[in-house]
């Protein structure tokens, strides 16, 4: 079967949507020269020209605000923010403009905008190694997508671009070079927003993950099967808002135990919201507390040894599952 990297899958989705729809445009910092901070858009300016692939000044608030305006005027902008850490400068535009126009003015406006950005780490220091999906997912009016595989990166990005509402599309820096089966091209490759996927079936514990943590969860599931005979059901959320609660709740009702995995902080992280919903809907089904794997409540240190020690990994998932069974 043909294989494709996560990076190439994102690029293919952008390229094909640009071919299909003239109104799709890209803008962001260094997206032409280097192809963006992770070389995702490399080659696109050569193909589509600088009017559709626009290298911007360094101005995150401006980029997103500009894209909101362009979207309201009929374009379908895909704005790239180098990393999610820099999205903080654009929060006002994202939360108070992109997410509000449709609501506040009698549905007169819609903002069909995609903000592509990147989570991850790799000795980048405390200000460049954060995960904010929980913040974005708390905002009504936004959709939040975090793909783990090339197939989903492709299929979800195409859906995000076609979606009439603003979508925050968060890629992961450590997944770009990961390869996987190439998605079917065209409409068959579409992955709808808001649907989770059961990636591995199991009976004993439900492990909920997304983005890079999916692979940590799958690795943990293998270890647990081999060493403990524990059977894990692993769910990839793929979209954090709107969230596919039926898939998660259905699984928890069968396994009666659940571990929630994320890379964001334990306090206020996305898992905290999910946990609240699960205890609300599944309280009588649970055989134990909802366990979480999350970043401890510290900014990620720069020292390599500490970073390795602290980032959530498969071993943490194994420990969390064992604590429940």
């Amino acid at each position: 079967m043909a294989e494709l990297s996560y990076r190439a899958a994102v690029r293919d989705a952008l390229r094909e949507e640009m071919l299909r729809d003239e109104s799709v445009i890209l803008l962001g910092e260094s997206i032409t020269g280097y192809g963006g901070s992770y070389a995702v858009t490399k080659g696109l300016v050569e193909e589509f020209g600088p009017r559709r692939v626009m290298e911007t000044p360094i101005a995150e608030a401006g980029i997103v605000g500009f894209a909101v305006g362009a979207a309201m005027g009929g374009l379908r902008p895909v704005a790239e923010l180098m990393t999610v850490n820099f999205a903080l400068l654009a929060l006002d535009q994202i939360v108070n403009s992109a997410a509000k126009f449709h609501y506040m003015f009698g549905q007169q406006w819609s903002v069909p905008l995609v903000v592509r950005t990147v989570s991850g780490f790799g000795q980048l220091g405390a200000t460049h190694s954060q995960s904010f999906e929980g913040w974005f997912a708390s905002v009504p009016g936004l959709k939040v997508v975090m793909p783990a595989t090339p197939t989903d990166a492709y299929g979800l990005l195409v859906s995000a671009i076609r979606d009439p509402d603003p979508v925050i599309f968060i890629e992961h820096s450590l997944l770009y070079s990961m390869r996987g089966p190439a998605p079917p091209s065209g409409e068959a490759g579409l992955v709808p927003l808001g649907r989770a996927q059961v990636v591995r079936q199991g009976q004993d514990v439900t492990v909920v993950a997304y983005s890079r943590m999916l692979f940590q969860a799958l690795q943990a599931a293998e270890t647990l099967e081999r060493e403990d005979g524990i059977s894990c059901e692993v769910i990839d959320l793929r979209t954090l808002r709107p969230l596919d609660y039926p898939t998660v709740v259905g699984s928890v009702r069968r396994t009666h135990r659940v571990v929630l995995c994320g890379e964001d902080w334990r306090t206020g992280g996305f898992g905290a919201t999910l946990l609240a919903e699960i205890q609300d809907r599944c309280f009588d089904d649970l055989d134990g507390p909802v366990a979480r794997v999350a970043m401890r409540d510290i900014p990620l240190p720069y020292a390599r040894n500490l970073e390795h020690l602290l980032i959530p990994a498969a071993g943490d998932v194994v420990a969390a599952v064992r604590s429940l069974v």
Binding site: E29, S30, T32, G33, Y34, S37, E55, T56, P57, I58, A59, E60, A61, G62, N85, F86, L89, Q123, L124, G125, T127, H128, R266, A291, R292, V293, A294, R296, D297, I298, P299, P301, Y302, A303, R304, N305, L306, L309, L310, P312, D316, A319, A320, S323
Partner: protein, 352 residues
């Protein structure tokens, strides 16, 4: 369109004083500047090598921009003025009193040993682009309220001038008459974005007009020009006349940082032309013509600087790797109980 301001230049390419120009530094001071520039280049090479070996974090070289950095920092007084860095101003940190060993410790992941010593008047490096500029304005305004005539020298890149923080900082500084000098190193690039795509203005110095203070453009590869412009701005600020914006035109010879590959986007012809403007070579010629520098002296200086560099790097390499407790302890002045419980259980994330 408004014409670009005339670019102040003091030294010619061959290191001669241009007609009508007088040096604002004496030979001993220029020698001090040259030594800092040489140290900077040695440091760039060393940090890059160590990064490639996995023993140093990301490094952002100064190479090519030494005159812009050093010319400006020589115009402030480390005994009373403050330095507000972006991240590409290594020799200025040294001049302002930051020990080399501390810098080496910081970039090898030892924040405690990389602390700015008490009494060294500088803020930490800032990688959130342009975020340092409002700090600089506020710091300067606060210092002025305290009296004493202290001035703040704040550095940023051409890319940083596109951020909202740059605008807000300049506007605030002008409105509050803060004693701050904004030194923009226009090195032609922001990662792979060329200066031409950053703004339609012919000169970033023109921006100052709109904020109500002077904007000056200088040849950023000319140590004496950068010094002269900064010294004038510092004198203005000290006299209570408010901020100045200086645009120093220079060129980034190397990569943006060690994760970058400029071969993918930079024009080799443009780079070769820039290299012919080498700021170090210009000062070397200037001092040589005045009988204040020669190859033997340079060899001795290099030997001494290399030894200093070796000592700092080796000391950092000998530091034990930081323990996990440090990162729990450093978040608050007084860590809350929950954090202390997480610290105790850092092997087991599901606790606490």
């Amino acid at each position: 369109m408004t014409a670009s301001p005339r670019r102040l230049a003091v030294l010619s390419m061959t290191g001669r004083l241009r007609r009508g120009q007088r040096p604002s530094l004496d030979d001993a001071q220029v020698r001090e500047g040259l030594e800092l520039m040489l140290l900077s280049r040695l440091f760039d090479a060393r940090a890059t090598t160590l990064q490639r070996l996995g023993r140093w974090g990301v490094h952002s070289p100064v190479e090519g921009q030494e005159a812009a950095v050093v010319g400006a920092c020589l115009a402030v007084d480390p005994g009373r003025d403050w330095l507000v860095p972006q991240y590409r101003e290594f020799p200025a940190y040294i001049h302002h009193g930051m020990p080399l060993a501390g810098i080496a410790a910081f970039f090898t992941g030892h924040p405690a040993q990389g602390r700015i010593p008490d009494g060294v008047r500088m803020l930490p490096i800032q990688v959130a682009i342009a975020a340092q500029l409002p700090h600089a304005a506020g710091l300067a305004w606060g210092l002025r309220r305290q009296g004493g005539g202290a001035v703040v020298l704040a550095y940023c890149g051409d890319g940083a001038t596109s951020e909202g923080d740059f605008h807000e900082a300049c506007n605030l500084a002008g409105r509050m008459q803060a004693p701050v000098v904004f030194l923009v190193q226009n090195n032609g690039w922001a990662i792979s974005t060329p200066r031409s795509l950053q703004s339609a203005t012919p000169s970033l110095a023109l921006r100052a007009l709109g904020y109500g203070f002077p904007g000056v453009r200088v040849d950023g590869n000319d140590l004496l020009a950068v010094h002269q412009a900064t010294a004038t701005a510092v004198a203005r600020a000290r006299a209570g006349e408010g901020p100045t914006l200086i645009e120093a035109d220079t060129y980034r010879y190397s990569f943006h940082n060690t994760t970058d590959n400029p071969a993918a986007y930079a024009d080799p012809v443009e780079l070769a032309a820039a290299r012919r403007q080498d700021p170090i070579e210009r000062v070397r010629r200037y001092l040589t013509q005045r009988g204040a520098w020669d190859p033997a002296r340079e060899a001795a200086v290099r030997e001494r600087l290399t030894a200093t560099l070796d000592a700092a790097v080796n000391a950092a390499a000998r530091l034990p790797p930081p323990g996990p407790d440090e990162c729990f302890d450093d978040i608050y002045a007084r860590p809350p109980a929950r954090l202390l419980r997480q610290r105790a259980g850092h092997g087991a994330p599901s606790e606490a």
